[in-house]
């Protein structure tokens, strides 16, 4: 008989304390950062990891200050699979919409992997007024849309290299090759996706045609292609001196394997995503010596002593996850995006998307990729000097498995070397 009131008392205590905890939790509700991207792909996977790394760092310091209160950040990721062959864009859009509606993120970072998905998602982003700092999709078409209708698309930012800047980096590298070795015959191979097409066409029109290079052929490959033997055979028989590949699919590593096994006497210079990180040396049995590859953002898969923050970031990742970053595109800007968003929220003093976007526009930050500022199309400004702009890096694999940065000059620690069997035309 006596135990009954005690039982009621205990239940009452539990309910009241539950209410108190819940009210306290509501008061300090976390700020959600959405990461809808292709999580199954290397770039998406590592970008997601560095977002978590940045969020942990910010949370370890108490979180983001908003209205005099510290609010922690929370990551809400979703695999939208847009990088996988055959996945239709609408499916990716559904994933993004689900992420926005269910988690109500204050902002989205990383975002769609494929440019086609990004461009299609812009209306969705605009509809739900959710700031997006994209760090993988590269088509300049998204900036064009922002410039055309700035009020509608002002929520869409990009913090990574775009195809226009990649063209500038590739042109700079080709100029150096031409100057050093006198090469003028190029064979272009690219993935049949928007950003790669735009890049290949851009280098061809803005440099090869004007500088008197002979484009032996330009071939587009559907995503998923894994046999490049015919093209390599053609490149060889047509006497190409440079092969310019532009690919971001895992299967593109095969191209390098086949280039080596078929002894094609041409300098492989461009972008093949599997070639960016240190693991490539082991994966390709050390048969990538001489290949020149672009890393789209300093800090993603490569770091330079000339930009100490990139080294710090690179080492931090290695310490936390036990291995080096392998994606040459995505991680560095993804990490920066979290800080950019968090700083914009603090400056805005609210989670109102209009206020956040206005503050994002004002971003001027020295980070691991150099100086980060956005242009009129909300694209981060790239150049060749990290003190003034964000920077990428072009490096060459040496025959003993090292990576030496060869472009831009401000970061270069070596000159381009010709692989065995290839002679200078000078």
């Amino acid at each position: 008989m006596r135990s009954r009131p005690v039982k009621y008392y205990l239940i009452l205590v539990c309910v009241v304390s539950g209410l108190i905890v819940s009210a306290a939790a509501q008061a300090a509700e976390p700020i959600v950062i959405g990461v809808p991207t292709s999580l199954g792909f290397l770039e998406g996977k590592e970008s997601h990891k560095v977002v978590q790394m940045a969020v942990s760092e910010i949370n370890a310091k108490g979180g983001v200050t908003l209205g005099g209160q510290k609010r922690i950040l929370e990551v809400s990721s979703m695999d939208i699979r847009d990088a996988a062959p055959g996945v239709p864009v609408p499916e990716a859009l559904l994933g993004i919409e689900k992420n926005i509606l269910e988690k109500k993120p204050a902002g989205i970072v990383v975002g769609p992997f494929r440019s086609e998905a990004l461009v299609a998602a812009m209306d969705l982003i605009s509809k739900y007024k959710t700031p997006l700092i994209g760090t993988i999709a590269m088509t300049p078409a998204s900036e064009a849309k922002v410039k055309e209708e700035p009020e509608k698309y002002k929520y869409v930012f990009r913090n990574c290299l775009n195809a226009v800047y990649l063209v500038k980096y590739l042109v700079g590298t080709m100029e150096a090759i031409n100057k050093e070795f006198g090469f003028t015959k190029v064979y272009i191979m690219h993935q049949d996706v928007a950003w790669a097409r735009a890049t290949a066409d851009g280098v061809k029109k803005s440099y090869f045609e004007k500088a008197g290079w002979e484009v032996m052929e330009q071939e587009a490959y559907p995503t998923g292609t894994s046999d490049f033997s015919s093209a390599l055979m053609k490149a060889r028989s047509k006497g190409a001196q440079v092969i310019m590949p532009i690919f971001d699919m895992p299967q593109s590593g095969t191209l390098v394997k086949q280039w080596k096994s078929m002894n094609v006497p041409a300098l492989m210079t461009g972008f093949i995503s599997p070639l960016a990180g240190t693991d490539a040396w082991k994966s390709f049995d050390g048969k990538i010596g001489g290949a020149i590859n672009c890393v789209f953002e300093m800090g993603s898969a490569i770091a330079s002593d000339k930009l100490p923050k990139s080294v710090e970031f690179y080492n931090k990742y290695k310490k936390i996850y036990g291995k080096e970053l392998q994606a040459g595109h995505g991680p560095a800007p993804a990490y920066e995006s979290v800080y950019i968003l968090a700083e914009a929220i603090e400056r805005a003093g609210s989670l109102d998307p209009e206020a956040i976007v206005a503050e994002l526009k004002k971003t001027d930050r020295m980070g691991i990729m150099g100086r980060i500022r956005f242009d009129a199309g909300n694209q981060v400004i790239y150049g060749f000097d990290p003190k003034e702009t964000a920077v990428a890096a072009v490096f060459q694999w040496t025959d003993d498995g090292k990576r030496r940065i060869v472009f831009p000059e401000a970061l270069a620690d070596s000159k381009i070397q010709l692989p065995k069997g290839l002679k200078s035309a000078k």
């Binding site: 290397l42 894994s226 046999d227 015919s230 055979m233 895992p250 002894n263 082991k282």
Partner: protein
């Protein structure tokens, strides 16, 4: 360049023949169109990769274990799924496709996507034929294709099990009256087909990399070869492999790589339009005549 295209056309034909022969064998004997074939190919490749790279097994042992495991998986698939829907073509297709989809998507979900997933080449060198460099791995595949075709022919003509295979393929009911247990033979044929998919993966994957999407591609190519050649016809597989193999390489060289993937699909449509039983298929020939 013509010589090079012919050489690579030949090598590509061998790759296609190795890719398709297991699918064809299973269908020819049990009548089961194993739509999990591409998934078995990928399953075996990932298993070999895991045993070799993560568990440090000797390569030969890793590959043998993978082939055996894939064969066991095929047998289990027959015993616990296909046996219940045997003879219902649509159900067989749906069941095997579902299993294949589940396997491939599981690998995708587990994060098995990336360039590091590949298998080593057995002979890491090449030879010059004219002005065309050919790597030994492709020559090895051509050898394997030849061995498989002759080996399977000898197996089905000179061994008890092989003769039982042919008996079931020719007339299942008559074979039953002679004491040949059709379900057991069908299970072995599905298992053997899966084993051949695993063997194909062992020799073909070193030319590229392992990815779940590769499973779909292998299935489409195996289907294309078998449909064009005539489902169940080994001779048809060989002829169709040559047709598609050369068509792909000539499209690559003289048209554009962009259209290569369409060649197989267009060939399927053409053959289905004009000769639904395939070039050498006898399955529906009588129905077509009627």
């Amino acid at each position: 360049m013509l010589l090079g295209t012919i050489i690579y056309g030949l090598l590509n034909s061998a790759v296609l023949a190795v890719m398709a022969i297991g699918f064809n064998l299973t269908f020819g004997i049990s009548g089961v169109a194993n739509f999990a074939y591409g998934a078995m190919y990928i399953f075996s490749a990932y298993l070999s990769w895991t045993l070799f790279n993560l568990l440090d097994w000797p390569y030969g042992l890793a590959v043998s274990a993978s082939i055996s495991a894939t064969m066991a998986l095929g047998a289990l698939m027959y015993r616990f799924v296909l046996l219940r829907v045997r003879g219902q073509a649509l159900s067989e297709v749906i069941a095997t496709f579902g299993i294949g989809l589940a396997i491939l998507e599981l690998f995708h979900y587990l994060g098995f996507v990336g360039f590091e997933y590949t298998l080593p080449v057995l002979i890491d060198d090449g030879i010059m034929i004219g002005d065309t460099m050919v790597d030994w791995q492709r020559i090895l595949i051509t050898g394997v294709a030849g061995l498989l075709v002759t080996g399977l022919w000898a197996f089905t003509h000179y061994t008890r099990l092989g003769l039982a295979f042919r008996g079931i393929a020719q007339d299942e009911r008559t074979a039953l009256t002679l004491g040949i247990e059709s379900d057991r033979i069908a299970m072995i044929s599905v298992s053997l087909g899966c084993g051949l998919a695993a063997l194909a993966a062992t020799v073909i994957i070193p030319l590229g990399s392992i990815s779940p999407s590769e499973g779909y591609e292998v299935l489409i190519k195996a289907l294309a070869v078998c449909i064009i050649g005539g489902l169940g016809s080994t001779g048809g597989v060989i002829v169709a492999s040559f047709l598609i193999g050369f068509a792909e390489r000539f499209t690559d060289t003289y048209v554009s790589s962009h259209w290569t993937m369409i060649v197989s699909l267009a060939a399927i449509l053409l053959v289905l339009g004009f000769k639904p039983s395939g070039l050498f298929g006898r399955q529906k020939e009588l129905e077509e005549r009627i």
